[in-house]
Symmetry: C2
Subunit: 206 residues, 2 copies
DNA sequence: CGCCCGGCTGAACGAGTGTGCAATAATCGG
DNA sequence: CCGATTATTGCACACTCGTTCAGCCGGGCG
């Protein structure tokens, strides 16, 4: 019942479930697995959350709360100073190696109402960002702000979703300390200069 | 045993498994579900593939073959004419609404050796594309071709991974007939012109 | 015709699943 | 200290899982 530094049992269970769900997917994790990971009995898991589905809902809500707070904080900070906090680097660094990003991946791919609400929040944030930057003259005006915001959002989320693949194949974790600067530079170069020699050219991408 | 128009039973089972795996994830699909979807008995599934894991391997291999062929064809076509076939639009349109893209999503997120091989193929394709375009003078030279190729690849795959979320929130399927042109225009505009007013400016993204 | 043989099925088994329940251990107010 | 409330557990039940196996059924071949 105490809310001190060490976690309560139900929080322990929730965090264990979050880790396992993120790594293996919800269906591949049993209540007994969660109990073992949390160091408690399977009965306690049910006693605290009622059912496995309810536990999943609690984990979803917890993750949503986390990202909701992060988004709000980020929007506020960028309202005060458009340039300072407004880059993905600090965001990603702050997220650290916690299980939140890995859970976010499952959440977005598995879908569901919670995922849709979260994605809507992120998209709204992206739109607001684009609007501010365009108004401030940092971004060129766009004929399709919605699409531009979506493309930028997909760019950021794509790194999170494909992090493991990129790490394995490219050889550098794009969200690690070293890979992050390399990735940011490539993205910044793209955003600042584009990549084609003749502006307004015909189509060409991979 | 025949390879005519209507599929053989084992191919029927494989396709049913691919659909269900893509939609719900491997662990959430039972052999009985697959059998029902394919219209056969559960025993026949095991009889043809030995086990559920082996069936999943067969599905993986089938999908890998499909994308391998597509990649090879795409590289060949773009070698002949750099501009004509070298856009994602035709690729996505050719993939259509088949289950391959949905399965690709699960494959990339669940990881595993097959996914890593596929991602490596895609990354190699992206690198080769970037190299050709830079050499042809279509792309500006880059200080980090690897990172540039990775960013472009993530951009394309991100749309596939987040397709459902984008459809639900933005309101347009980015791989549908109408959404594709809107999405392509936004991406093309980004690639051609960048989005910041002062090239080489300081950091700014969402 | 009889035979057999590969595709296919239904029933069954053991293991593992989520969950309910009674009993035990811990904690706290009096 | 004691009673009570809460946290926690072991056990059991019903069910589903993947998988096995004996047998059915239709068609090609002697």
């Amino acid at each position: 019942m105490r809310s001190t530094g060490d976690l309560t049992a139900s929080a322990l269970i929730r965090d264990a479930a979050m880790r396992l769900f993120a790594d293996r997917g919800t269906a591949a994790v049993s209540v007994r697995d969660i109990a073992a990971e949390a160091g408690v009995s399977p009965s306690l898991v049910i006693h605290h959350y009622g059912s496995k589905d309810a536990l999943k809902d609690a984990v979803d809500q917890h993750v949503m709360q986390f990202f909701g707070d992060m988004i709000a904080e980020f929007v506020d900070a960028s309202a005060a100073d458009l340039g300072a906090a407004a880059n993905s680097s600090t965001l990603a660094a702050r997220l650290g190696d916690g299980p939140f990003l890995r859970y976010l991946r499952r959440l977005l791919v598995d879908g569901g109402p919670a995922a849709e609400r979260l994605f809507r929040s992120l998209y709204d944030m992206s739109r607001e960002m684009v609007r501010r930057y365009e108004q401030a003259g940092v971004f060129k005006p766009s004929s399709d702000e919605g699409a531009r915001a979506a493309v930028l959002l997909v760019n950021d989320l794509g790194v999170i979703l494909l992090r493991d693949q990129i790490s394995a194949v490219v050889g550098v974790d794009p969200l690690g300390p070293d890979g992050l600067v390399r990735w940011s530079q490539a993205v910044l170069d793209l955003y600042a200069n584009g990549l084609m020699t003749s502006p307004g050219d015909d189509r060409a991408n991979d």
